[in-house]
Each structure stands twice: as structure tokens, then as C-alpha cells.
């Protein structure tokens, strides 16, 4: 079910995360990532454009609505599974680090 192309990069992780609670359009995603990471993760427009195309191609998100300049996307069950897999991996990484640093 999951993504078989290695771990997600930080921008990929946050973009996928942005869809968990609601459908999102491009500018909303940028705002979400900015807010969530307090400006730590900078999401360039080219990166976001490529990611949205890539996630659609990998069927992690689907386009739900087109309203003028605004396109809205929704995460798919496969997308949720990929996010969860990455979350579990990051948790395991964090746990390993915590354990070793104690």
C-alpha cells in the first residue's frame, strides 16, 4: 500500500500532512506549511507544483475541485498510509535517538 521510493523529504512530508484534516488548494498548503513549521520549512512554488503533480501521479492525492485559479486536492487512503508509514519511521528514529541520548 505504502510508497516504495524511500523516505519522504521534509517538504513532501508537510505537504502530505496538510491534507489530513481537510481538502486543500496550493496557496492553502503553502500557508499551512509556513504556519505549522513557523517558517522553518520553505516551500518554493516550483517544489509545490512538482509535488502536487507527483502525488497525483502516485495516487496519493486526487483533484476534487477546480475553481478559477484554485485547484483543490484530497488525500487518498494510499496517501494516508504513506504519511502514516513516514510518521512511524520518524517516531522510530526519534525513539532511537532518545534512547541513545539518555
Amino acid at each position: 500500500m505504502g510508497r516504495d521510493k524511500g523516505p519522504l523529504t521534509e517538504p513532501m512530508y508537510y505537504v502530505l500532512m496538510s491534507f489530513l484534516r481537510q481538502d486543500m488548494c496550493g496557496t492553502e498548503i503553502t500557508e499551512f506549511v509556513e504556519r505549522k513549521t513557523r517558517g522553518r520549512v520553505n516551500l518554493g512554488p516550483g517544489t509545490l507544483y512538482t509535488l502536487l503533480a507527483r502525488f497525483q501521479e502516485e495516487k496519493l492525492i486526487v483533484e476534487t475541485q477546480v475553481d478559477g485559479r484554485k485547484r483543490t486536492y484530497r488525500i487518498t487512503p494510499k496517501g494516508r498510509a504513506v504519511f502514516q508509514e513516514e510518521l512511524d519511521r520518524l517516531r522510530a528514529c526519534a525513539a532511537d535517538g532518545e534512547e541513545e541520548s539518555r
Binding site: T9, E10, P11, M12, C25, G26, T27, T30, V41, N42, L43, G44, P45, G46, T47, L48, Y49, T50, L51, A53, R54, G68, R69, K70, R71
Partner: protein
């Protein structure tokens, strides 16, 4: 001052860093990118601005993407248009702004773009086969080198030899430019992957521009061929052409077969095939006769792009002796013709291997040239062509 400026794109079509820095440099000189037309880029004159330009590879249809523009605008970039249907062009006055902030995602975009261009290469291969196949009769393996040596004007103005060589040269330049473009794109990808700062390479765009320029007449020629513009016959009546009846007398009986007694002038030509005319008329002949046994007249005329070619062609024709004709006599210029050459022919009989006797009628061959047009008339019959020179000059002037 003109509001639009046109420049040849000096970089290869896929040379992203080269194109970005070129567009930014021109923006600094007050030329804001607008659109492309083949190997040319059009710019609007504007206030010189120090900007950075980013080319975003187009991933889907080449139509403007409002969502993408909104994303870029929100990040402070301005949409300038599309470049060669391959990139969306964005510019930002903030020189530290970054359109791509994730190297892996940029690598994905470039990999995808590379695959698209690789597939596009297949289309180019198809174009190679299509154009070279269309003109393969003019290929060097089909060329008669002896003809080329002794009759270069006739050989090269056959409508296929020059188009084939232009095709070959144009496609070679375009293929090379495309191939090197792919190599540069692969190098750029590798450099991005390693975190390096790739540099553009200028010069490749000139290769593509030269290829396009060489192929342009071939493409126009193809359009003329496929649109049926290469053949434009017209009626004999009112054409001004000399007829067999005019030479032999009004009561002279012509063949009833339209193939031997044309009531039209065959006429055609394209950009790479000189404009030409053809007309023939035969006297009526019995079933036991061959068409060559009766008086007939054949007229060919060609208008060459240059007068020197017409002069050379007249010289080529004057070296041909045909069916017992004598050598050509230069009759000098005439009213309405710069050059008149005449080769009389005496009647003669030839016995072939089967013992059959063939009689060739008398008559003669006439070459007339006016400027860049050459008219060649081959007549079999009792008339003396120089007596009818006015009619042939009239024919030449009617072209």
C-alpha cells in the same frame, strides 16, 4: 523606438541555467521576455530591471496554468510567458528567492522533463524519416554523377535533389542540437544532484536556428506539394503558345488524342522546383504509324531563380544532339530574346536490329532564353523554325 525586439535564442532548448541567465541579462538591458517563434525570442522593451529568471518545466499540457501562476505570484514571482512550449517563465526582483526548495523534488521534475524530451526525440526521428523519405529520389545514392558533372543545372533543378540535401543538412543540425541539448540536460541534472551550481552553454541555439533556417524552404516546399500548389495548368487558348497548326497551316490535321494534342499548358513549380511549362502537339497518325512518324512539336520552358542558371542551362541544352540533329547555330539575340540557338535536323532513316526501318522527320531544335527563362522547342516536320521565330519569342514572352 520599436516596442518589440527579436533575438535568436543562443542556448540549447533544454539548457535551463543558460536560458535563465540569458533572459535575466536581457531584462537588465530593458528587454522583458514575451514569447518565442521557433528559434527566435520576442521581447518587450521595458525599464531595465535586475531580476532572476526561473524556468519551470511544463509537466502537462502547454496551456497557461492559473494555479501555478497563483503559487508563484504568492511567492513574489511574476509570470512572463512560455518558452518554446517547454517552460513557464517566471521572474522575481528578489534575487534570493528560490522556486525549488527541495533538491529531490527538483531532481524528480528534471528527470520527468528529461524523459519527456527523450520521447520528443522519437518525434524528431519520425520527422527525419518522413522528410528524407519524401525526397529520397534526390538522395546521393540515386544521383547520376555523370549527369551532375555534365548537366548540373538540369540535375539540380529536378525538384528533389536540392530539397534532399537541404533536408539532410537541416535535420543534421536539428538532431545534433537536440542530442546535445539532452546531454546538457543530463549534465544539469547531475550538477543539481551534487549540489553544484551548473553553468549554461551558449551556441547550441544557433545550431537549432541554422537547422530551422535550412529546413524552412523544405517545409514550405512540402506544404506547396501537399496543398496541390505545385501544378497549375491553364488553357492553350489565349496562352500565347505557338501551336503545330500555326507552323503547318490552319488546315493541318492534328491528332484527336488529347495525350498527343494538348489543349492545355502543363505548368507548375514550387519554391525548390523551378517554375516550368510543357506543351506538345502531334499531327494525326494512322494505326500503322508511330507518333514519331508524323510532324510534332514539343515545348519545354523553365524559369530559373537566377539568370546565370538559365545561361548555363541554355549552354547545357546546346550540347545535346538528338535524332540526327546538327550542332547549334547561335542566331544571336532577337527582339524579346537574349539568346537564340538553333539546331536543324535532316530527315534520316535508321534500320533497327529487327530490320525495321524508322524514318526521322526533318525539323530542328530551338533554344530561346530571356533573362532567367529558357525555352526549348523540338520540332519534327518540314518547316524551318527560324522562319517562325516571332511565334516562339511570343511564347517565351507569354510565360
Amino acid at each position: 523606438m520599436k516596442h518589440i525586439a527579436v533575438r535568436v535564442i543562443p542556448c540549447g532548448s533544454f539548457d535551463i541555467p543558460g536560458l535563465e541567465s540569458w533572459l535575466a541579462r536581457l531584462a537588465g538591458r530593458g528587454l522583458r521576455y514575451g514569447t518565442t517563434l521557433g528559434p527566435l525570442a520576442c521581447f518587450e522593451r521595458a525599464e531595465p530591471a535586475r531580476v532572476q529568471v526561473h524556468l519551470e518545466p511544463i509537466q502537462g499540457p502547454a496551456a497557461e496554468d492559473p494555479e501555478l501562476n497563483a503559487l508563484y505570484e504568492a511567492a513574489g514571482w511574476q509570470y512572463w510567458g512560455q518558452l518554446s512550449n517547454q517552460f513557464f517563465v517566471y521572474a522575481s526582483a528578489d534575487l534570493s528567492a528560490r522556486a525549488h526548495t527541495d533538491p529531490e523534488t527538483l531532481d524528480y521534475a528534471l528527470r520527468r522533463f528529461f524523459r519527456q524530451k527523450l520521447a520528443g526525440g522519437l518525434l524528431l526521428v519520425f520527422l527525419n524519416f518522413l522528410l528524407l523519405g519524401l525526397y529520397q529520389n534526390g538522395a546521393f545514392w540515386n544521383l547520376d554523377w555523370t549527369d551532375l558533372r555534365y548537366f548540373p543545372v538540369e540535375t539540380l533543378s529536378d525538384g528533389v535533389t536540392i530539397p534532399f540535401f537541404l533536408c539532410l543538412l537541416g535535420l543534421l543540425l536539428l538532431d545534433l542540437s537536440y542530442l546535445l541539448g539532452l546531454v546538457h540536460l543530463a549534465c544539469y541534472r547531475r550538477a543539481v544532484d551534487r549540489g553544484g551550481k551548473p553553468r549554461g552553454r551558449r551556441g547550441l541555439g544557433w545550431l537549432a536556428a541554422a537547422g530551422t533556417l535550412v529546413l524552412l524552404p523544405v517545409v514550405i516546399n512540402c506544404i506547396q506539394l501537399f496543398a496541390g500548389l505545385d501544378y497549375r495548368s491553364y488553357d492553350l487558348e489565349g496562352s500565347g503558345f505557338v501551336t503545330l497548326s500555326e507552323l503547318e497551316g490552319e488546315d493541318f490535321r492534328l491528332s484527336g488524342d488529347l495525350m498527343y494534342n494538348m489543349d492545355y499548358i502543363s505548368h507548375g513549380g514550387t519554391l525548390l522546383d523551378p517554375e516550368s511549362w510543357y506543351f506538345q502537339q502531334y499531327a494525326s497518325f494512322r494505326q500503322d504509324q508511330s507518333p514519331s512518324d508524323v510532324p510534332h512539336l514539343e515545348i519545354r520552358a523553365v524559369r530559373y531563380p537566377l539568370e546565370i542558371l538559365a545561361e548555363l542551362r541554355a549552354e547545357e541544352l546546346s550540347r545535346i544532339r538528338f535524332n540526327g540533329s546538327d550542332g547549334y547555330h547561335d542566331l544571336g539575340p532577337a527582339e524579346g530574346a537574349d539568346q537564340v540557338l538553333y539546331a536543324p535536323r535532316t530527315e534520316r532513316s535508321v534500320t533497327d536490329l529487327n530490320g525495321e526501318v524508322h524514318t526521322y522527320l526533318s525539323g530542328g531544335m530551338l533554344i530561346l532564353r530571356r533573362g532567367n527563362t529558357v525555352l526549348y522547342a523540338d520540332y519534327y516536320g518540314d518547316q524551318d523554325l527560324p522562319d517562325h521565330l516571332d511565334a516562339f519569342v511570343r511564347t517565351l514572352n507569354s510565360l
